[in-house]
């Protein structure tokens, strides 16, 4: 029973981090109809930016995380301006190929720039776990999960409650009409992509210190992000959050009670089941027609 509670807590914490990975991706997909294969590389960028600021620049950890998020947003805005803006009327396949290219280019640039040796990001939290009865959890992980939840909440507010959010939703529902209403379409595209990228960088900045920073770290992150988005339904923010938590708990219990060798398989079996029986995601309110 003690082990079960610990597994559950581990799963929740892991799920929180998966959710953070998923929301940036689902946002860009849902609003821009763009499959962002470079999502994992922006995650890597966030981790390395934090490493550079804390370990090399000697910055305060929290300032470094904030700076990494800004770096992610700027990098996202640049990507959109340079690569995606000229392709705005192209099909989803074309932009997908461009993003795959960007993914490979960025990952190799990271390998060239930082070398293959993993970097450990220093953080100010004590390593001794916070214990509650039989269950222990590292303070850093508590911070990460709370920050992740705060970021998810802020994203929802931004999209639902602000003028910018309204303009975003309007643009991606009907570009022509939005333009007629005075929305600056180009800027909205850039802002959306920058926002999604900032969330990916935030995930990298927060998870980098828990794990290690290395050039190929984005691959696993991308894989998990896509899994979460499929579970939650494409473009569904609340779905991605719940999907992340669900995947985290499923993997953790699968590893704990089935076999740790098949840990990732448990997650993918669930995804296959979801695709078979609820193809638009576990948390889709209604089936879209047409």
């Amino acid at each position: 029973m003690d082990a079960f509670l610990q597994h559950l807590v581990n799963g929740l914490v892991l799920g929180g981090t998966y959710a953070l990975l998923g929301i940036g991706l689902t946002l860009i997909f849902g609003l821009m109809n763009l499959v962002n294969f470079a999502h994992g590389e922006l995650y890597t960028l966030g981790a390395y930016a934090t490493f550079a600021a804390v370990a090399l620049g000697g910055w305060n950890f929290f300032v470094a995380v904030a700076a990494a998020i800004v770096v992610g947003a700027v990098a996202g805005a640049l990507c959109e301006r340079v690569l995606l803006a000229p392709l705005r009327d192209e099909s989803i396949d074309t932009t997908m190929l461009v993003m795959i290219g960007l993914w490979i280019a960025l990952q190799n640039a990271e390998l060239l720039g930082w070398g293959g040796v993993a970097k450990s990001i220093p953080h100010p939290f004590p390593t001794a776990p916070l214990t509650l009865g039989p269950v222990g959890i590292a303070p850093l992980r508590v911070f990460v999960v709370l920050t992740a939840l705060a970021l998810i909440g802020l994203s929802w507010l931004l999209i639902q409650k602000t003028r910018l959010g309204t303009a975003m939703r309007a643009t991606f529902q009907d570009r022509e009409t939005a333009a007629l209403m005075g929305v600056k379409i180009g800027r909205i595209h850039t802002a959306t992509f920058a926002f999604g990228s900032a969330l990916a960088a935030a995930a990298g900045a927060l998870l980098g210190p828990i794990f290690l920073a290395y050039p190929s770290m984005g691959d696993l992150a991308s894989l998990k992000a896509f899994s979460v988005v499929i579970l939650g339904g494409l473009g569904n923010l609340a779905g991605a959050t719940l999907g992340g938590v669900l995947l985290g708990i499923a993997e953790e219990l699968g590893a704990g009670y089935v076999s740790s060798g098949y840990r990732d398989a448990v997650g993918f079996v669930i995804i296959i089941l979801v695709l078979l029986f609820r193809p638009s995601g576990l948390f889709a309110r209604s089936q879209r027609i047409g």
Binding site: G116, S120, G254
Partner: protein, 389 residues
């Protein structure tokens, strides 16, 4: 104007071609397949650095039979599929007569059928899975110890380490799975109990589930088999979950110096099976060579923590170069027969191949030296039971 430039260029090229050393003086190519990118890229790059030291030392001494040695290095991206295509590329396109590789057991196993298909020998510098030399591939010559040999090397210390009940956490590859079997069998023979055997994917970063499961057993020792990146994560996450076990890492890819840097206090007290002790070069079989290698590594500005991996590259290339010298020509079949005759001392110690695997199709297996070190007070030390000898 343009034409004159072109003419001069042509003349230059022809003169260059005429004065260049003849075909007999062309460099000897040696293929190298290592994971230079992907999750275990650090290890692969250290081996490349060690191989380059061996190459430069050989060339500084005048090469092999008067010809310079040239390395043709391919990246297997930590991926077995890539290892097979890298072997094919090296053999078919670069026409290398011998290969060193391919770090991970799964990568080596994937490359092996290509060696048999084209008849090119490969010196295996890192891989530990028993199956590599048991499959009946006569083109395989291994200088790293298989897990069974490592387990035998540890056997004499089991009582001193106080191992009564052991759990295993290993990477989910041929190496990890083979290691769990080998050490488990050895421990059972010694009368120790074997508890949980847990696995993790090579790229996995969160091992909390496995650690929680291991925590619920009554074991006193955790055998950890994976590369240094995952060892770092397991130690850190074990510390977060207050896993209090003796930890022994196997496979020699733990890089204790890197663990001290990246896992900090979480690495304190852990034991590591290594095949090179750059902290105490004087304790190595060939102290002079070991010292020279450590000095050269530092002179090139390579990170110290890479030495426990880098020496493999040196020893592998030194072995192949020695075989080419014995063979007298850089021809695959001749190198294969010469490998059976080589006897040299590498950074690890004596290298000499003995037959292993099904009769008639044996692979070569050398008997490398095995050492145990411990992280004590943030430094690498010989464990008490070894220092008191």
């Amino acid at each position: 104007m343009q034409k004159r430039w072109l003419a001069m260029l042509l003349v230059g090229l022809i003169v260059g071609a005429l004065t260049a050393p003849g075909l007999a003086q062309a460099p000897i190519k040696i293929g190298v397949i290592e994971p230079l990118s992907g999750p275990v890229a650090a290890s692969g790059n250290y081996i490349r650095m060690g191989a380059e030291i061996a190459r430069d030392w050989i060339n500084a001494r005048g090469g092999v039979g008067g010809r310079k040695v040239e390395l043709v290095i391919e990246d297997n991206k930590s991926d077995p599929k890539e290892a097979a295509s890298a072997a094919e590329k090296l053999i078919v396109r670069d026409k290398v007569p011998a290969i060193m590789g391919a770090w991970g057991s799964s990568m080596t196993l994937a490359a092996m059928p290509k060696l048999e298909e084209y008849g090119v020998p490969m010196v295996v510098e890192t891989s530990s899975a028993a199956s590599i030399t048991k499959r009946g591939n006569p083109w395989i010559f291994r200088i790293s110890p298989p897990s069974e040999m490592e387990a035998l090397g540890l056997e004499q210390y089991v009582d001193k380490l106080g191992v009564k009940q052991a759990d295993f956490l290993a990477v989910n590859t041929d190496w990890g799975r083979g290691s769990v079997t080998a050490f488990g069998d050895m421990l059972k023979k010694k009368g120790a109990a074997v508890g949980a055997a847990e696995f993790m994917e090579q790229a996995a970063t969160d091992m909390n589930a496995q650690i929680t499961k291991i925590k619920s057993t009554n074991g006193d020792t955790l055998f950890l088999t994976t590369a240094v990146e995952q060892i770092t994560l397991v130690l850190k996450q074990g510390q977060e979950q207050r896993l209090t076990r003796k930890v022994i890492t196997t496979g020699g890819s733990s890089s204790p110096s890197q663990l001290i840097k990246q896992a900090g206090a979480a690495a304190e007290g852990t034991y590591h099976i290594v095949f090179f002790m750059p902290w105490f070069p004087e304790a190595m079989p060939d102290a002079k060579l070991a010292r020279a290698f450590v000095d050269e590594w530092a002179k090139r500005g390579h990170p110290f923590e890479g030495l426990t991996e880098g020496f493999r590259g040196h020893d592998g290339i030194a072995t192949i170069a020695e075989a080419i010298k014995v063979a007298g020509k850089d021809e695959p079949k001749a190198i294969q027969s010469a490998l059976w005759k080589v006897s040299l001392t590498g950074v690890n110690g004596p290298i000499k191949f003995e037959k292993d695997g099904p009769a008639g199709k044996e692979s070569g297996q050398s008997k490398p030296s095995i050492f145990i070190v411990q992280i004590k007070d943030g430094k690498v030390a010989l464990p008490d039971f070894m220092a008191k000898k």
